[in-house]
């Protein structure tokens, strides 16, 4: 039995009919049991699509192909619809960015949480209610019995996000996918939510995938970081290594743009404007890369393993993963 709870190999997602657009290309990664994997990238880099495809929740018109997507020994892409319903929410739960759209405005919080319990555990109404009180208390919401009778609009943004986390945990999942759960929140509230999820991870042995565009946040929460750019994995490294010595030029630029030791902007570190085109030949980052050479514009670099635990896709790296002098 491997230590990985989730293994994805060769995932590609495309959209549209005649003019197909490839949005995610050959994404592979593993998540170890109990670890926190961070996925970072800008909007449109395929982070969220990758997560949605694993739960088979892609929008209509999207087509996902995968060599292997194994969750705890089962192939997610060959599950029957009924088995899939049992995995969703019960074994893999998701917390989304905007808690207001994730909650139904016309149902009380209590109704929404007990619905999950009754669906997955066939609990009686009384048991579900008792458990819902526990769940709200567990995520730090004061006075749960009163709060259960209230509607989403009666909660602040931070409290609403706590509610969606409580709902996600109602099915006692083993994997929690947190898709930008703190982006809509103030920094002090963000810190509270992060502390909460970390506590749950510790106490309940939860495995977490954090999807975010905020690399600084991952310094706090991630054991490993997967850097995505234009639908591809460009770097995958233990957090300590990525922050100490990023290998891919995009990861370096991203880190350079948030480093606090240079309070005033150094214009040389900012990434040039040209938007990426995932369909083009060559390395998707080449149009914005200061070190791009001819090879980068014609052939896409493959993801290679360096030092056993790091993967990066860049032609400028030599066999040891150091930045070569250029050929």
């Amino acid at each position: 039995m491997s230590a990985s709870i989730l293994e994805v190999e060769g995932l590609s997602i495309s959209f549209g009919g005649a003019t197909r657009r490839q949005l995610v290309t050959d994404v592979s990664f593993k998540v170890e049991r109990g670890e926190a994997l961070g996925i970072v990238g800008e909007s449109g880099s395929g982070k969220t699509l990758t997560m949605l495809s694993l739960l088979r929740l892609l929008p209509r018109g999207a087509d996902a192909r995968v060599v292997r997507a194994c969750f705890d020994g089962r192939d997610l892409f060959s599950l029957t619809p009924a088995a899939l319903q049992d995995v969703r929410g019960r074994e893999i739960a998701v917390v989304f960015q905007d808690p207001l759209t994730a909650l139904n405005p016309v149902l009380t919080i209590g109704r929404q949480i007990t619905e999950v319990l009754r669906r997955h555990f066939r609990s009686s109404a009384a048991d579900a209610r008792r458990r819902a009180v526990e769940l709200l208390a567990n995520v730090g919401i004061p006075d749960p019995p009163l709060r259960l009778r209230q509607y989403p609009h009666e909660f602040s943004g931070g409290m609403r996000q706590r509610v969606t986390i409580a709902m996600a945990l109602a099915g006692e999942p083993r994997l929690l996918i947190a898709d930008e759960p703190t982006t809509a929140l103030d920094v002090t509230v963000q810190a509270d939510i992060v502390t909460l999820i970390q506590r749950l991870q510790r106490e309940q042995g939860l495995t977490v995938i954090w999807v975010t565009h905020d690399l600084a946040l991952l310094a706090r929460i991630a054991d490993r970081v997967l850097v995505m750019y234009a639908g591809r994995v460009v770097e995958d490294a233990p957090a300590a290594k990525l922050f100490a010595a990023p290998k891919h030029p995009y990861a370096r630029a991203l880190l350079g743009s948030i480093r606090q030791d240079a309070p005033r902007r150094n214009r040389a570190t900012s990434i040039p404007l040209t938007a990426a085109d995932a369909g083009a030949l060559g390395c998707p980052f080449a149009p914005r890369c200061a070190e791009a050479r001819d090879q980068c514009r014609s052939v896409s670099p493959v993801l290679k393993v360096y030092g056993g635990d790091t993967r990066a896709a860049c032609w400028a790296l030599d066999d040891d993963g150091a930045r070569g002098a250029g050929s």
Partner: protein
């Protein structure tokens, strides 16, 4: 405070919203105090950042300065003359000098209007250009924000988020204003794009001697762009200081809590850090606590804080803080 070099000076600004109908009885007739006696000088040529959590009154203050909200009491002066009571033609003339860039470049551009027409609109309203001079000026503005003048005929949907924000900035500078309010103008953009837009704001400031009020809840972005920072809490300014000093030695406990909540992009430092969350949530602006507005959450509150509101006073040359304990 001297007003000699202040471009915009606010004195004793209070904004009270009276809520009626549609609310539970107990909450009716209890006015919401969005701003409570705020004094603020924005010096000519500076970038002043306004930070604070949602609901702290940042945007309300900006709108008072822009004269789109009339304060319940207090005055706003522009270049030393009181503009609080003016209206009609005089206000319209003045508006040319004040411009705003909003958070969401998707909703702040009319989808049916070409971007050239959007930029031309303020020029037409103020009678600054017509015919071929107008077209020329629109092209100039597009080039100033790093876009090609040939894109004037295109609609907003043809542009990316970062490009749209450039278009909004082009529209803001079209009338050669003195003062620009950027209300969360970076929040909807990816980290790598934020850097470019910050660079653009800096370039334009240097070229046209602009003064900025930069509203943000992102403390890292604020650090990169501002000369001074004002921190707001529950409708009041609680600290005001030059940027470097605020970040290196925050004097107000709320500023200290805010800065402590920002993740540091270094896993080693970040994991060693003990984060102590703020207690509870911000009090309701309809029912602010007596004494210091922050005392309900302040880790250092003493008896005096519960009864006596601290004045915003000079705690060091050029540094103001509203805290009994600040030295």
């Amino acid at each position: 405070m001297s007003t000699a070099s202040a471009l915009v000076a606010a004195r004793g600004i209070t904004v009270t919203y009276h809520r009626r109908r549609l609310l539970p009885l107990r909450e009716r007739e209890r006015p919401v105090q969005a701003l409570r006696s705020v004094d603020l000088d924005i010096l000519a040529g500076e970038t002043l950042a306004l930070v604070g959590e949602s609901g702290s009154g940042k945007s309300t203050l900006a709108r008072v300065l822009m004269r789109t909200i009339t304060p319940s009491s207090g005055t706003v002066a522009f270049r030393g003359s009181d503009i609080t009571g003016i209206g009609g033609g005089a206000l319209r003339t003045l508006r040319r000098h004040f411009q705003m860039v909003f958070q969401d470049p998707f909703s702040s551009l009319n989808p049916r209007l070409s971007v050239g027409a959007a930029i031309a609109e303020p020029l037409i309203v103020h009678g600054l250009a017509r015919g071929s001079a107008l077209r020329e000026r629109v092209g100039e503005c597009l080039e100033m924000v790093g876009l090609d003048s040939s894109v004037a005929g295109r609609r907003p949907h043809e542009f990316s988020g970062g490009q749209r924000q450039r278009i909004c900035i082009a529209r803001a500078i079209a009338c050669q204003p003195d003062f620009i309010v950027a209300d969360e103008a970076l929040s909807a953009l990816d980290t790598s794009l934020q850097g470019q837009i910050i660079d653009l704001f800096q370039d334009l400031k240097e070229r046209f001697a602009l003064t900025y009020l930069f509203i943000s809840h992102d403390l890292s972005a604020v650090r990169q762009i501002s000369d001074r920072v004002a921190v707001m809490y529950l409708g009041q300014v609680v600290e005001l200081a030059p940027t470097a000093e605020l970040y290196s030695s925050p004097r107000h406990p709320y500023t200290q809590a805010l800065l402590a909540a920002v993740p540091v992009p270094d896993p080693v430092l970040e994991r060693a850090r003990v984060y102590t969350p703020l207690r509870g949530e911000p009090p309701s602006p309809a029912n602010p606590p007596p004494g210091c507005p922050f005392h309900t959450r302040c880790p250092r509150a003493i008896e005096r804080c519960r009864s006596e509101p601290p004045a915003l006073r000079e705690v060091a040359p050029g540094r103001l803080a509203a805290c009994h304990l600040a030295e």
